[in-house]
């Protein structure tokens, strides 16, 4: 009898073990992933929503985040530092609090304290594009000093031997990290090309009309300039207009910096307005953000205890290197989002 009992229980055990086995062989990944990611709230606060970079990031992120059951929101401070600070404060205080804050800082210091407060509340803080004096959980964007070096190399390449070797700069301003670092990179690279000279370096204050006016003056004072580096494609249309007006299209190589959006960059190169654009891919930045977001949200790593720098590879788009994949298309992205 005992034997029968043992046998029966052994069989029962074996059958349960056998029926459980296929379930244990199932991939535990999706369940864990879903558990960690479901319902996570991601809020992005760029300097403004109305320009290509922000719309690009938002476009790519909003496509992917709902796939893991998260929610994605944006705030539009419309270039106002105060409105941005307010948006961050509100996001920190909101209930449920966001799990990840993606912030594009207007300068090195303005948001540092607020971002620290967010981390203390357990919110991961991602910095995009603009560096700040703050240990973010992750930074995404270009290495601006390196971009300056690349722009300078492109200027030297475009001018070439036998040219005047005179280069002009249209800086942004004197407070924004992107402008200061780009300038430092350009100066560093130019030091290696002793015969090249920076003949003028006015600021545009990121405004296209100012960029046009200072470039007009620069071209008159230094008619032999062979290349101009404008620090942002958002105002470089002004420098392009000045070059066109001076009848120097094709003679002065205009190098701008941008996010690789089609109408802002590739179309301008196509039409000859810009000679080259040194770009950080918004698309790649977005997917880097997503990857790190997925990692941090599953890792259990407390906010503010790690910091990662993810520099996006920089590419130089000019007539020689441009191909169908050089730029991303904001219009197409928006059209796809509507479907």
């Amino acid at each position: 009898m005992k034997l029968v009992k043992t046998l029966i229980s052994a069989i029962a055990l074996a059958t349960t073990a056998l029926t459980v086995l296929p379930a244990a062989a199932q991939d535990p990944g999706p369940v864990a992933y879903k558990k960690a990611m479901q319902g996570k709230r991601i809020v992005m606060i760029p300097m403004a929503m109305g320009f290509d970079l922000a719309q690009g990031w938002a476009g790519f992120l909003s496509r992917e985040i709902p796939n893991f059951g998260g929610t994605f929101e944006t705030r539009d401070p419309n270039w106002s530092v105060e409105a941005g600070a307010q948006a961050i404060t509100e996001a920190i205080a909101s209930d449920p609090k966001p799990d990840v804050l993606i912030i594009m800082a207007p300068d090195l210091n303005s948001y540092s304290k607020l971002m620290k407060r967010a981390q203390k509340k357990g919110i991961y803080v991602f910095l995009i594009d603009n560096p700040a004096n703050f240990k973010a959980d992750a930074f995404f964007g270009g290495d601006w000093t390196e971009m300056g070096r690349i722009e300078a190399r492109e200027a030297v390449r475009a001018c070439g031997e036998g040219s005047s070797k005179e280069i002009g700069l249209v800086q942004g301003d004197q407070t924004n990290a992107t402008s200061l670092y780009q300038y430092a990179g350009i100066v560093e690279e130019m030091a290696k090309h002793k015969d090249y000279k920076i003949v003028a370096k006015p600021d545009s204050n990121w405004d296209a009309t100012t960029s046009r006016n200072v470039t007009t003056t620069m071209l008159q004072q230094h008619p032999n300039i062979c290349a101009i580096i404008d620090f942002w494609d958002g105002d470089a249309t002004g420098a392009a207009a000045a070059i066109r007006d001076a009848g120097k299209s094709g003679k002065v190589h205009l190098i701008a910096n941008g996010g690789g959006e089609k109408s802002a960059d590739c179309d301008m190169i196509e039409s000859g307005g810009y000679g080259a654009v040194v770009s950080t891919s918004v698309e790649r930045e977005s997917y880097d953000m997503l990857a790190l977001m997925k990692h941090l949200l599953q890792s259990g790593q407390p906010a503010g205890t790690s910091s990662t720098y993810i520099y996006t590879e920089t590419q130089t788009i000019n007539k020689l290197t441009m191909n169908a994949n050089s730029c991303w298309d904001l219009k197409a992205l928006k059209a796809a989002a509507k479907k």
Binding site: W206, V214, T217, A241, K334
Partner: protein, 322 residues
């Protein structure tokens, strides 16, 4: 030298000439035809806006919505063209909108008695907010290829860009209006003493509406010129110093903020000073921070001088006047 010969206009004119002369001596490349053309051109849009501002200020008002109207009207216009609207229809729609906003400014100031500084601040923000959120999808709107604005931007006569001619033409028109037409003269009377002007039968309130409509239309022209030159309109210009520069040019030339004084000549002198100053600072490679410091010091000096030379008229001043 008696008090009347020592007025602000002369001081600014002398300062302008001094800067121009010393720049010609010390900065090679200042005194030549292309540079002088580029000075006038760099100041034309600012000068055109200042003409509109001058008409409003002489009538004892101020229009802080000009830059918003300038950028947003053109942005809306270009957006409609890009969306495939008929050009003529789009233009008519925008002009109607511009006139409506100007009339709203004037109505609230003239009939609702709200101080102009608050009215126009609010309508400026409204125009920006409405157009940006409802009508255009991003900050910048491009001029479509082959559009008449593109052709206009490329127009040159004797190497002089079209902006300069339009600035000159509008200056002349404003001069004729203010100096020789009945309604133009009324602007001075109403600005100098609104109550007295009303007592002698001048239609003070409809006139006020007219001035804000004119300022709005002039802003639209300034916006068209900006777009023609840059082949796009950047609405971010709202956040720039442009509005302050417009007031700077107007006040510095000697148009008293308390109204009733000044004319087109003052705008031209103010524009000349700012244009030459900016050009000299760019040639001399002075950084933006120092440029802003120099500009703001000049504005401050002009406002103090304005306060001394054109004291508020206690009999006619009202709460909310500036």
């Amino acid at each position: 030298m008696n008090a009347s010969s020592f007025n602000q206009e002369r001081i600014v004119l002398i300062a302008t000439i001094l800067i121009a002369v010393s720049a010609s001596v010390f900065l090679s490349g200042f005194l030549n035809v292309p540079n002088l053309i580029s000075i006038v051109r760099s100041i034309s849009v600012l000068g055109i806006l200042a003409l509109g501002m001058a008409i409003v200020i002489i009538g004892r008002g101020i229009d802080l919505s000009m830059v918003a109207i300038m950028a947003m009207s053109v942005a809306w216009y270009l957006q409609m063209i890009n969306d495939g609207y008929n050009d003529y229809l789009a233009l008519m729609l925008v002009i109607t909108g511009v006139i409506a906003i100007g009339a709203l400014n004037g109505f609230l100031v003239a009939y609702a008695d709200v101080p102009p500084i608050f009215v126009t601040l609010a309508t400026g923000l409204f125009v920006f907010g409405y157009v940006r959120s409802q009508l255009i999808p991003s900050d910048a709107v491009a001029v479509p290829h082959g559009h008449w604005l593109e052709l206009m931007g490329q127009f040159r006569l004797f190497n002089i860009p079209v902006d300069v001619f339009i600035f000159i033409a509008l200056s002349f028109a404003a001069f004729i209006f203010l100096r020789f037409t009945k309604w133009g003269r009324y602007v001075y009377f109403a600005g100098d003493n609104p109550a007295a002007a009303r007592n002698i039968g001048i239609p003070v309130r409809p006139m006020q509406v007219l001035r804000y409509v004119l300022a709005a239309l002039i802003s639209f022209i300034a916006g068209l010129l900006t777009a023609a030159s840059l082949l796009s309109i950047q609405t971010r210009v709202i956040n720039s110093n442009l509005l302050y520069d417009v007031i700077l040019v107007t006040v510095i030339g000697g148009i008293g903020l308390s109204g009733g004084k000044g004319g087109v000549r003052n705008v031209l002198i103010g524009s000349a000073l700012i244009g030459i100053l900016l050009n000299v600072m760019t040639i001399a490679d002075i950084s933006l921070l120092s440029q802003n410091l120099i500009k703001s010091t000049i504005l401050l000096a002009a406002i103090i001088l304005d306060g001394v030379l054109n004291p508020r008229d206690e009999q006619t001043a009202q709460q909310g006047d500036i």
